[in-house]
Symmetry: none
Subunit: 138 residues, 4 copies
DNA sequence: GTGGTCTAGACCACC
DNA sequence: GTGGTCTAGACCACG
């Protein structure tokens, strides 16, 4: 199944993290329009989380029009969801970058230091995903 | 006085924002070891915030060893605070960048797109500070 | 419930006394890692104290890494807390003894007199706990 | 001059520490009935402390009848001060020991551990004063 | 239900 | 004047 686990150290609300995972899965193509999303109880068990929390995430996604209920069957990814998830993803990442950069500038941090940090973290992420890919190939 | 105002739209706790401002002021050299920090009541009035909220920020900074109390006189910046604030600032920015990058990669966003966003936001921030400077000159 | 009442005559801040009670309960085994600590409101009611005061004690314990929050559920004793509480207790008692002894020596008090006081107070404390035990048995 | 410096890390009110030093000097014989105590300004300068603070300590000692003012000359140690200071010292040490012991018992600390701590700290203090004595002999 | 934040205001000790 | 403690009560987010 997709949407494996949540980043342990994340202090954001769990329901928000779950909703974002779904959006990312859609943006990345792992979930496609028409696909059924896992039942609330299953996903809750998988994530070791209260079912209410998953339900809330799904509800929010419905409100955003990214999930649609199919009577008696569950929830499926909506038709126009891909584009909207990509845009949402883009804006989320943009917002986080903006906050990092603003904070750095407000505190008089050297531009070069910020750039260096960005490259460092970029390399670190690249290294990790390569590791993941290798593991999957094994 | 230093530490002018808080970003209106920030959703983080006020006391945390205040504490960060102090850290940034120390990291940037606006406050130096031995300097007295503004009295709780004054800063509270300036920020239009309850004194308890400022007190909590100061208390947290004391716990971190960045401020120390001079009995009956107020709070002063501790001796080793500059390095520690610089490191704290660096790690804060690093963490924010890391989260942005991780999120982008986890959701299979194109590397080129992330880089483009970073450059966009970087330019935007630079433009703003230049704009500020220009506004002051005008 | 545990953590019954506070020593009436103690001049230390209430939140500090509460935090110490929790540490002692952990050091003594009455609270074990993973156990939930009583809800802020309940303990406040039990101690006839403002909930904020209890909250502050809990917050300080979190900062020390002895409690950790389980979101929406409350606060639980952290994994490594037992050893750390035992060490904290040991150092608390050591510090108090050291101060007593230093004060005695600085003021040229006779060693024999200090030892005699220690034995006296030791016997007194022992008598009290025996009395308590007896009272319970009765 | 006597009453050299204050223990840096002591969190008790400075005026109380000063008053205690005087009491100890009397109890130990360094100051004798009829001796003049150092002028407020001198002692304040020596201790790097606000003169008001020294004045408060002296005032409290006067209230307790341990110092008497000699018109135009300053303050002298009162006649019956020695016994009373010895008793005060005894009760101070007793109180500190009692608190240490009570805390240990309340937190279910092993009696043997408390005794061991007492012996450790006792030895430590003895070592220090011997070192001091040796230094003086040099 | 849980903890967390924030406000308001009183009171204290210290210098 | 300074910071620190405590109370009271409102409100919010989370599960």
């Amino acid at each position: 199944m997709i949407l494996l686990d949540l980043n342990a150290g994340d202090e954001r609300p769990i329901y928000g993290q779950i909703a974002d995972r779904v959006k990312f899965a859609v943006a990345g193509g792992a979930l496609r329009p028409g696909d059924m999303v896992p039942p609330v109880r299953d996903l809750a068990k998988q994530l070791v989380v209260n079912p209410n929390t998953v339900a809330r995430a799904y509800r929010d996604l419905q409100t955003e029009g990214l999930l649609e209920s199919v009577r008696g069957m569950g929830l499926q990814v909506a038709e126009g969801a891909v584009d909207r998830c990509r845009r949402a993803r883009r804006e989320m990442v943009r917002l986080r970058l903006r906050r990092a950069i603003d904070e750095a500038r407000q505190s008089q941090m050297e531009p070069a230091e910020v750039e260096a940090l960005f490259r460092e973290e970029w390399a670190r992420a690249a290294g990790q995903s390569n590791g993941d890919a290798g593991a999957r190939h094994g």
